[in-house]
Each structure stands twice: as structure tokens, then as C-alpha cells.
């Protein structure tokens, strides 16, 4: 297995090949127009950590599968994650003007093109996975199952469900612990759990391995969100690389607003343990994934 950084580099290179920049004004019949290609490229190549796709590739290799064959599926996960950020940042949603230290997509390209860049990345994610699946007809069933997992995670009972509930609670100025759980599972954890489930499908994992990765991904996502919520209140802007306290100011339902700081720390401890426990069937092979959650908890100390 490789390091997180090495998996991220694989993803970075492949994304750049799948979606090259175009000259201003360029288009040809049957191809993309520059405005769409470049607005998609701007957000996709904005220096994300590629955490979700890297974890998918690592899981495939941990299970003895081929990371190269899984690469387009991993890239699709990153496209979906990126589209969700572009749409989240829009006026009418979070209305953010900065993301990863750069102006958000709609600030640079306008609201209309940003909506289309998001739509385009979601559709292109499926195009990319479907093309990869079609290239290996002898693997059709496993590839189809992997695409299903990712579609489910990003879908109307997964990521989009969480976002819709988040929007509702923000407008209603609150929500209970049940709503918090629903939002964070949907919005954040599904896009870790389901790509890992896809990895299991791609690597022909057995049912126990599939469940273990799924449980780890869900716990990882909840831990990720709880850590983020905690550091939004207790962290320093420098270390986080973004404006802090924004969630509280906008009345967003977070772990801290629903559970308090101590409750959030307890949740972090609980999800950390759940994540590590889920990996037990893999033994020492899961060191990569244990390290990820250990590092995350370390940041909150």
C-alpha cells in the first residue's frame, strides 16, 4: 500500500488528464465549451486533499485489488465532492465567497456557470465511471455494483438528503440531536462510507469486509464532522485555513450547538473507537486507516 500523499497524487494526475483546461473561447461540435470546462477545472483542481478518493484506492489495495483499475471511480468520487462544494457555496445555499483560500466558483464565473459546473461535475462523474465500467465487460457486475454504491452515497437518501435537512434546520434556526445525526450521516459520512463500499465491490470483498469498511466509513465521517465542528469553535484560524465561528454565526446545527463542547468531545472519542473497532477484521493491514482516525483525534488535543 502507498501513503495518503501518493494516492492523492495518483488522483490529481488522473483528474487533470480527464478534464484539461481549454483556451478561452474554444469549443467544437461534440466537445465541451471552454466556459464549462474551465469552471469545472477551476474547482476540481483547487488543491483539495483528495481524502475520499485516496481512501477508496487504499481500501482497494488493502483488499488485494488493483488501484489503477479503481482510479476512475476514485476520481468520480472527487468530482461529486467538488460539485457539492460548488453548489453549497452558491447564494441561496451557504453563500460563501472563499473556499480553500480562493474565490468560490460563482464569484469567478458567475452564478449560472457555477450551477452548470456543479451539474457538469456530477454528470461527468457518472460518465467517467460508466466509461470505465464499459471498458471491462468481464467486470460488468462488480463495476455496476460499485457505481450503485457511489450513486447511493451521493444521492437523495445520502449526501443530498443531508444537505436538504441542513438547509431546513438552518432556516428553522435549530434542530434536535436526531436531526443533527441525520444531517451529518447524510451530508458528510455517506461520502466516506459509500466510496469505501464501492472499493469493496471493486476488489470483490466478502460481506464481512464490506460491512467493516462501511461501518468504518460512517464512523470516520461522523468523527470528521465532529472534529470540524469542534475546531470551528476552539481552533485557530491559521491552523484551519478558513474563517472560524461562521457556523455559530449563521445558526447552523452543529455538534457543538446540539451537544456542547464536552458532548462533542465524547462523540469524537466514541466514533474514534467505533472506527478502529470496525477495522479489527483486517488486523495489521488496516494500519493506514487506523492512522487516519488517530491523526484526526490528535488535532483536537
Amino acid at each position: 500500500m502507498k501513503t495518503l500523499h501518493e494516492y492523492a497524487d495518483m488522483v490529481e494526475a488522473r483528474l487533470d488528464a480527464l478534464l484539461p483546461e481549454m483556451a478561452d473561447g474554444a469549443y467544437e461540435m461534440g466537445g465541451m465549451p471552454w466556459l464549462l470546462a474551465n469552471s469545472m477545472h477551476y474547482s476540481l483542481m483547487a488543491g483539495g486533499k483528495r481524502l475520499r478518493p485516496a481512501m477508496l484506492l487504499a481500501a482497494v489495495e488493502m483488499l488485494g485489488g488493483d488501484a489503477g483499475e479503481a482510479l476512475d471511480f476514485a476520481c468520480a468520487v472527487e468530482m461529486i465532492h467538488t460539485y457539492s462544494l460548488i453548489h453549497d457555496d452558491l447564494p441561496g445555499m451557504d453563500d460563501d465567497t472563499l473556499r480553500r483560500g480562493r474565490p468560490t466558483n460563482h464569484v469567478v464565473f458567475g452564478v449560472g456557470p457555477a450551477i452548470l459546473a456543479g451539474d457538469g461535475l456530477l454528470n461527468f462523474a457518472f460518465e467517467t465511471m460508466l466509461r470505465a465500467a464499459s471498458a471491462h465487460p468481464q467486470r460488468a457486475a462488480a463495476n455496476l455494483a460499485a457505481i450503485c454504491e457511489i450513486a447511493h452515497g451521493s444521492g437523495v437518501t445520502g449526501m443530498i438528503a443531508g444537505q436538504a435537512m441542513d438547509l431546513h434546520c438552518e432556516r428553522a434556526d435549530g434542530g434536535d440531536a436526531g436531526a443533527l445525526d441525520y444531517i451529518q450521516r447524510g451530508k458528510t459520512a455517506c461520502m466516506f462510507a459509500y466510496p469505501l463500499r464501492a472499493a469493496a465491490r471493486l476488489a470483490d470483498a466478502d460481506a464481512a469486509q464490506l460491512t467493516a469498511l462501511s461501518d468504518y466509513g460512517m464512523a470516520f465521517g461522523l468523527l470528521f464532522q465532529a472534529t470540524d465542528d469542534l475546531l470551528d469553535v476552539t481552533g485557530s484560524a491559521d491552523a484551519m485555513g478558513k474563517t472560524l465561528g461562521k457556523d455559530a454565526a449563521s445558526g447552523k446545527l452543529t455538534c457543538v450547538s446540539a451537544l456542547g463542547i464536552d458532548g462533542t468531545r465524547a462523540r469524537i472519542e466514541r466514533e474514534h473507537r467505533a472506527a478502529v473497532d470496525a477495522l479489527s477484521i483486517f488486523g495489521a493491514r488496516a494500519a493506514f486507516f487506523v492512522q487516519l482516525v488517530d491523526d484526526m483525534v490528535e488535532r483536537t488535543h
Copy 2:
């Protein structure tokens, strides 16, 4: 083969089953939240003519395939069409407040939920097709090929490409005949041509039949758009069921603005002939599809 109305009824009933309305405030872990389900439902069940999915089903039956097995693919096409309308109507895009005589999605549910309703319908379209494909593993290759066709038609070199170019030309206050062609092929014709290509895949059509349906769909789409552009200028608001003259007022690039009224009439005649010619290999079996283009041209007389 059935009538257009009968195919539309099949689609209507299946869409309603795939996406039922929910009680206000309802949600459960792993399911959709009411806000998302109901905003998707509002636009999906808004009384569209179901032309694209009906044509897909008719093509499958013309080729000897099973319309019942193709139904979820047809419904997915309608979901994609509907999402594109929701996003098109948003502020930052066309900023429309009325669609099919009812307030547009963002007017009823707000901009944020409307963005998510569109995202949700696009993702749900893929979820629906993938679930249908997974249910018939022995048809995996044909089903996968059909999903690929639809993804291509709705994608970044298809529908979304046309929309992005349209947005650019509107802002640049114009565009040439090449841009017009690019926009109308992408934005309108691809969502007729590619669903018909999907029908060919689902019915195991041969290469000549695939090309014939594809050519017909492209000509149909260009004819559809040219007719719409012409009637926006020469038609009556009553007959069209919408505000007329809006395209000209917003500086949109249309057949009439680029080619003039006579040029548009010539285009209508040309695409009508191309559509009918493409169907020749099907002989009398293609009566359904010939009738569709004949009726369309009839409206411009």
C-alpha cells in the same frame, strides 16, 4: 405500439411510484427528507407531456423490445429533463417565475432547496437506472450501454455543454450560426437523440437502426427548437401556454435572431425532411415517429 398518450401515462404512473410525496416534516434515517422529496415531486409531477420518455418507450417497442423493462430508463430521462428545467429557471440562469402555468420550483421552495431538488433528480435518475440494470444481471452489458448513452446526452458534451454556451452567448449579447447550432444540438437535440440511442441499446438494435434513431432524434430536436423559436415570435400566448417574446427581450440567441423568420422556416423544412429520411429503414413501423414531426410542422402553418 401504443399511442403517445398511453406511453406518457405509463411514465406518469411509474414516476409517481418512484417518488411519492411525503408528509410535512417527515424523515427517517436512510430515507429522504420531506423537503427534498416534495420539491422534486412538485416539478416532476407538474404535468409535462413526457415526450422524451414516451419516445424512448415507443422506439423500444418499434424495435421489438419490452417497454416495461425500459420504463425506469424512460423515467430517468424525464427526471433529467425536469432537473434541467428547475436549474434553468433559477436566478443566475433564466430567472423564470412561471413554468407550465405554475410558480417555478425556487419560488415555491426557495433557491437552496431548488438547487438540491435539481441535483437530487439528476442523481436519482442515475440511481433509478442503475437499480434497474442491477435487477437484470443477464442484461448488464445492454443496460450499461443504455445508461452510457443517456449520461452522454445529458452530459458535459451534450445538454450541459449547450446550456453553458447558451449562457455565454446571452451574456455576450449574441453569437453566430455556428454557436446557435452548437447550443441547439446540445441543449435540446441531445436529450432526444441520446434517449433514442438508449432505446436502441435496450432493444439490442443493430448499428444501422442505432444510427437511424440517433439521426432522427437529432433532427427532431433541432426541429422542435426551431418550431419553438418561430412560435415565440409568430404564435399566440394562448396557444403556447407561456409568455411570448421573452427570448428576444433577453437577447437570447435563437433561430429567429440568427437566421430570420424565413431562415427558420427553411430550417424547419430541412430538419423535418432529415427526420423522415432517417426513419426510412423502418418503413411503416415508424409511423408513430413520422406523425410526431408532421404534427410539429403543422403547428407552424
